[in-house]
């Protein structure tokens, strides 16, 4: 039965793209969660919907359009946040509601696209094209490479931004690079979990790994493990049970999070006795 699953071309495309996204999302997620900036993933996912809508309206690849749109918006958010003209969270609210409004207007113009839109909203591996796989792999590798390149600086800034500044680390520039990488990760995740569930893919595996209370490197490893397992199982289950891929993946992640939470609570109780 499993063999037949791997024989479908679209399944293989979905799996390839899914694995890249599963590996890249926690790399970004760990820094977002620890900097209390998880909401930006949600904001950028709504921004990406505008890109999807524009792509569908203009007849260009919606994922590519979402990537361009999300990266531009991420730079706008960072600039607005740095200017201190509005509070950081308010900047996110501005972009979230603004981009959603823009997407709704664009989608009302592009009538008859509802079936495709459903796939982009909730994720479906059927929508993953060969171009998507290529784009996701190249950009996913770029995100991972840049996170590794700036790894020690990102850890330092996340833990203690002021000391990182005193150490001569160009904090502002690295923050800009990081927000662009976040935008890329969000846009790349659309075909797998859909616009509405991207934030969960980025945040939940990290929250699960954080319950294990271990070193930074190991926390990343466990978040990766949780992410890869949930995406792989979620795709297989959603295929056979005919369920929405994104929803299945996120429910599995939540199940894993709850299980780890319970086990750790029991271990603490045993330890305190």
């Amino acid at each position: 039965m499993i063999v037949s699953f791997f024989h479908y071309g679209f399944i293989m495309r979905g799996l390839e793209a899914g694995m890249v996204v599963a590996l890249v999302a926690p790399l970004i997620g760990i820094f977002l969660v620890l900097r209390r900036y998880s909401l930006i993933a949600d904001t950028l996912s709504h921004v990406s919907l505008s890109g999807i809508a524009l792509g569908m309206l203009l007849g260009i690849n919606p994922v590519l359009a979402a990537i361009v749109f999300t990266v531009i918006a991420s730079l706008g958010i960072e600039r607005l946040r740095m200017s201190k003209k509005v509070y950081g969270e308010s900047a996110l609210a501005l972009f979230l509601s603004g981009s959603l409004a823009f997407a709704i207007v664009l989608l009302s113009l592009a009538r008859g696209m509802n079936a495709n839109l459903f796939n982009y909203l909730f994720g479906s591996i059927v929508t993953v094209t060969t171009t998507d796989v290529f784009t996701i792999t190249i950009l996913g590798a770029l995100v991972a490479a840049l996170v590794f390149l700036f790894y020690k600086e990102l850890v330092y800034i996340t833990f203690d931004e002021e000391s990182a500044l005193v150490a001569g680390i160009p904090v502002k520039s690295i923050n800009v690079v990081f927000i662009v990488l976040t935008a890329l990760t969000v846009a790349l995740s659309i075909p797998i979990v859909g616009v509405l569930l991207i934030a969960a893919l980025i945040v939940i595996p990290v929250l699960t790994a954080l319950q294990l209370r271990t070193s930074f490197v190991r926390t990343i490893f466990y978040a990766e493990l949780c992410s890869v397992c949930a995406v792989l199982l979620g795709m297989i289950i959603s295929f056979y049970a005919n369920l929405a891929t994104g929803g299945t993946i996120v429910l599995l992640m939540l199940g894993l999070f709850s299980a780890v939470l319970l086990v750790m609570k029991q271990r603490r109780q045993i330890g305190s006795q």
Binding site: L34, L149, F150, K152, E153, V155, Y156, F159, D160, E162, S163, A164, L165, V166, A167, G168, I169, P170, A209, L210, R213, T214, S215, F216, V217, R218, T219
Partner: protein, 252 residues
């Protein structure tokens, strides 16, 4: 004579600073030489931490100049020569997933430079720094699982790991019990006298700093008094009044 042979590490001249309305710092000058242990003291809100942040380039002064290792601060790039123990040592996220060794390793990042991986030499220096402050056996523990005093030692180790020539400490004993605080001051004294490390310590604890530091600077928006511990011993009561109640009125 001895003072003439020592080189100046920090030279702040006529520093004034404001966050918006009214000056927080007014015309403050301070020189720190190699081997000094400078205690900057004053009441809460006197501008001590602001002055320290200006000296570190975290804030830009309205007026005045700062030279670090004889270079204008704007052109200074050798940040690894400076160690920093921030005020929030006792106020960081205790759930942050980072071990003692990982925290100390951050102290090597300035020396290693951008895009370069951590080397065996970095790990060796981290081991030396953690051993020096008696925390090597805790290297695999999460920083959030340690006591306040132990966490402080780890932050000192992080500063030491970069092999700096000077360390700035901003109110490092806030929220720490008296026994731990005394141990901490003993460690600083040891680092200064045994290893010749230059220290600049900001504190509101005038009496304790006067016992420990080689130079005392009392500030309250501007320099109110500066001198040696011996001079402080002679006029301690007057200086205490000056620092916490302002200048005594002149009687005709």
């Amino acid at each position: 004579m001895h003072a003439l042979t020592r080189h100046t590490l920090i030279d702040a001249r006529h520093i004034s600073f404001s966050y918006g309305e009214g000056e927080v710092l007014h015309d403050i000058s301070l020189s720190v030489c190699a081997g000094d242990y400078v205690g900057i003291v004053g009441p809460n809100g006197a501008g001590k931490s602001t002055f320290l942040r200006v000296m570190l380039g975290l804030l830009t002064p309205l007026q005045g100049n700062i030279a670090l290792f004889n270079e204008p601060i704007q052109e200074f790039r050798e940040w690894w020569r400076i160690g920093y123990v921030p005020q929030k040592v006792t106020n960081f996220d205790i759930n942050f997933p980072v071990t003692v060794e990982e925290v100390a390793l951050m102290g090597r990042y300035a020396k290693r430079g951008m895009f370069k991986k951590v080397t065996i030499e970095d790990r060796r220096q981290v081991e030396a720094a953690l051993t020096k402050i008696g925390m090597w056996e805790y290297r695999n523990r999460l920083i959030g699982d340690l006591s306040g005093g132990q966490q402080q030692r780890v932050f000192i180790a992080r500063a030491l790991a970069g092999q700096p020539e000077i360390i700035f400490l901003d109110e490092p004993t806030t929220g720490i019990d008296e026994v731990t605080r005394n141990e901490f001051y003993a460690l600083l004294k040891h680092l200064n006298t045994e290893f010749g490390l230059t220290l600049v310590l900001v504190s509101h604890d005038l009496e304790k700093v006067a016992e420990e530091a080689s130079h005392i600077v009392v500030i309250d928006r501007t320099v109110m008094w500066a001198g040696s511990p011996q001079e402080f011993a002679q006029e301690g009561h007057r200086i205490h009044h000056l620092a916490y109640h302002g200048p005594e009125p002149h009687h005709s």
